[in-house]
């Protein structure tokens, strides 16, 4: 009856899967989110169409892997933007106040967001492969060259997934560290377009830099993931070391910031 306490015994905690479902829904239930997803798929398709036309006009030989390389270009540029928006949307639109009031454990919300970003990466892989296969079929239909289905097996598909996961994670990390959509996207593009150039320049000018470059150039270290079917132990090590610097550190800063930031 009129007790001044809340009886919590019949209230189960919110299961993690439900949080993931809600976070996934948040990625496409706004016009901005929906259009970003549509344009990622659309641009990937467009790149493949252009590639197909160029290949046919020049009568060059191509394989499924060639289309894979084409599809990766828009994916790797745009998936980070999606990663950024999955985090910053809550802050710039101030919905984090509602989210964290419903789920006070911020760590679980962040984890759910990340898992839903991984789900998007998986969907992106499926979309990319469907588009690649269509492109290769059209190529086979119109080209004098034979179709080549170099799938690279499950491991090849896994490498593409890993590449997309890294792309999304970079966006996620910058989004979390900066908590502002425009700011995070700008920093990401500087990071993505300026940093490799600086690495290149440094390697040219400084011999000591040249020798350590494979260990700190994250962008280069991802090259084996692009259309490769085998990755050597040393390549994995390069990816791991450079990744902990350029992805691990921003991600750690970002998660720390999200856990502590005052939600205004």
């Amino acid at each position: 009856m009129s007790t001044e306490t809340l009886d919590l015994s019949s209230t189960p905690a919110i299961p993690f899967t439900r949080l993931v479902q809600v976070e996934l829904r948040k990625m496409y239930d706004t016009r901005a989110g929906r259009w970003l997803l549509i344009s990622i798929a659309g641009l990937t398709g467009l790149v493949l169409v252009i590639q197909l036309i160029v290949l046919l006009v020049k009568d060059q030989s191509a394989t499924l892997g060639s289309f894979g390389a084409g599809a990766n270009i828009p994916m790797v540029i745009l998936l980070p933007v999606l990663g950024v928006m999955s985090v910053t949307g809550e802050w710039s639109q101030r919905t984090a106040m509602v989210t964290f009031a419903l789920v006070p454990s911020r760590g679980r919300v962040i984890a759910a967001k990340y898992v839903s970003a991984l789900a998007i990466a998986l969907i992106a892989v499926v979309v990319a492969y469907v588009l690649m296969i269509v492109a290769n079929l059209l190529y086979g239909a119109f080209s004098s060259h034979p179709m080549v289905w170099d799938f690279g097996g499950a491991f090849g598909i896994f490498l593409v997934f890993l590449l997309y996961v890294i792309s999304l994670s970079i966006g996620f990390a910058f989004g979390a560290a900066i908590l502002n959509t425009a700011g995070a996207i700008v920093v990401y593009f500087v990071y993505d377009f300026v940093l490799p150039g600086l690495m290149e320049l440094g390697a040219h000018l400084l011999s000591w830099f040249h020798s350590i470059r494979p260990w700190i150039d994250f962008s280069n270290a991802q090259t084996p993931l692009q259309g490769g079917s085998s990755v050597t132990g040393q390549q994995w090590a390069h990816l791991l070391v450079s990744g902990s610097i350029w992805l691990g550190i921003p991600l750690a800063i970002g998660i720390r910031r999200m856990l502590r930031a005052e939600v205004k």
Binding site: S2, R94, T95, M97, T99, P104
Partner: protein, 315 residues
């Protein structure tokens, strides 16, 4: 139900909330009053675990908010009606909360109806909502999980007079069914008719607490005051003077330094016909509020329009 114990929140050297304590009882509406920047929002944010307390604590039904599993099912929260994604529809906003809490989707329609948001309005994006509609959506969001406690920050802000009345009735009904409500406002008139008890805060400190009647009494310097109008005021004035009760003319009425019941008795004994009899000085509460929070108004930039101090009230 809500216990605030010695709560302090500092931002660097600035103390937003300074050692405040109060409680909200079950089945009542507590009004949390104060000018902008007095610490109301900070206090409410600490309540729901969005801001950590520097000292002290808040418990809701004996629990810290963060320890409540699925808190939306127990505590309905509206902190800022504009804190919604502009690109989501009203229905989608409620659907996300409803799914997070694990409620059936049909609950969303029920709540839309409860706050009188039309189906066509619910399909619009929040970007196109007026502040009043956002408030209704925010209240729907707070009520979704059928909570036992409601914490609402400035819920009447942006509502039209009909909307304010609607909210008043809703909150009164909610409290009558055993719910506990804490609502904040910087406008006294939004709160005084609905709140069973009021907590007035200024510059992070509680400057007054109590029921409306208690606050009214303190507005009259601790003495009971009655405002009375008789068909023949002169006659009533004489009758009161005979009993040794002080009365002064106040417009078409008399302001009497006594309880309404005593004034009524005097009138009945003298067979004097009254047309109006009420407790306290109605304006007194407004004056008291301004006076209590006067120190906490920003100098040079008053939050409220400057009002002349009534005679006889010394700040």
């Amino acid at each position: 139900m809500i216990h605030v114990e010695g709560l302090t929140r500092k931002y660097g050297s600035f103390t937003a909330v300074d050692d405040i304590s109060f409680e909200c009882r079950q089945g009542t509406v507590t009004g949390f009053l104060g000018p902008n920047g007095a610490g109301k929002t900070t206090t409410m944010r600490v309540m729901v675990g969005l801001t950590p307390a520097t000292h002290g604590q808040v418990t809701i039904g004996g629990h810290h908010y963060r320890e409540i599993p699925n808190p939306g099912r127990h505590v309905g929260v509206l902190l800022d009606a504009s804190a919604q994604h502009a690109g989501r529809t009203g229905r989608e906003v409620l659907l996300l909360s409803s799914r997070t809490m694990g409620l059936p989707d049909s609950r969303v329609e029920e709540m839309l109806e409860r706050v009188s948001l039309e189906p066509a309005e619910a399909k619009r994006t929040v970007r196109n909502y007026s502040l009043g509609m956002r408030q209704r959506l925010g209240i729907a969001n707070a009520l979704l999980g059928d909570p036992q406690v409601l914490i609402l920050d400035e819920p009447a802000n942006g509502l039209d007079p009909a909307g304010i009345r609607w909210m008043r009735d809703l909150l009164k009904g909610y409290a009558a069914q055993g719910g506990t409500v804490l609502l904040s406002s910087h406008l006294l008139h939004e709160v005084e008719q609905v709140a069973d008890e009021m907590v007035v805060i200024g510059r992070g400190r509680i400057v007054a607490r109590g029921t409306r009647a208690q606050l009214l009494r303190s507005a009259s310097g601790g003495l009971a005051t009655t405002l009375v109008t008789a068909v023949d005021n002169e006659q009533l004035h004489r009758a009161l003077t005979v009993k040794g009760i002080e009365a002064t003319a106040a417009g078409a009425s008399l302001r009497v330094s006594a309880e309404p019941i005593d004034v009524g008795r005097v009138a009945a004994e003298g067979s004097i016909v009254l047309t109006d009899l009420r407790a306290g000085n109605e304006d007194g509460l407004e004056e008291l509020f301004l006076q209590l929070t006067a120190d906490s108004q920003r100098e040079g930039a008053p939050q409220q329009p400057a009002q002349p101090m009534p005679e006889g009230v010394n700040p």
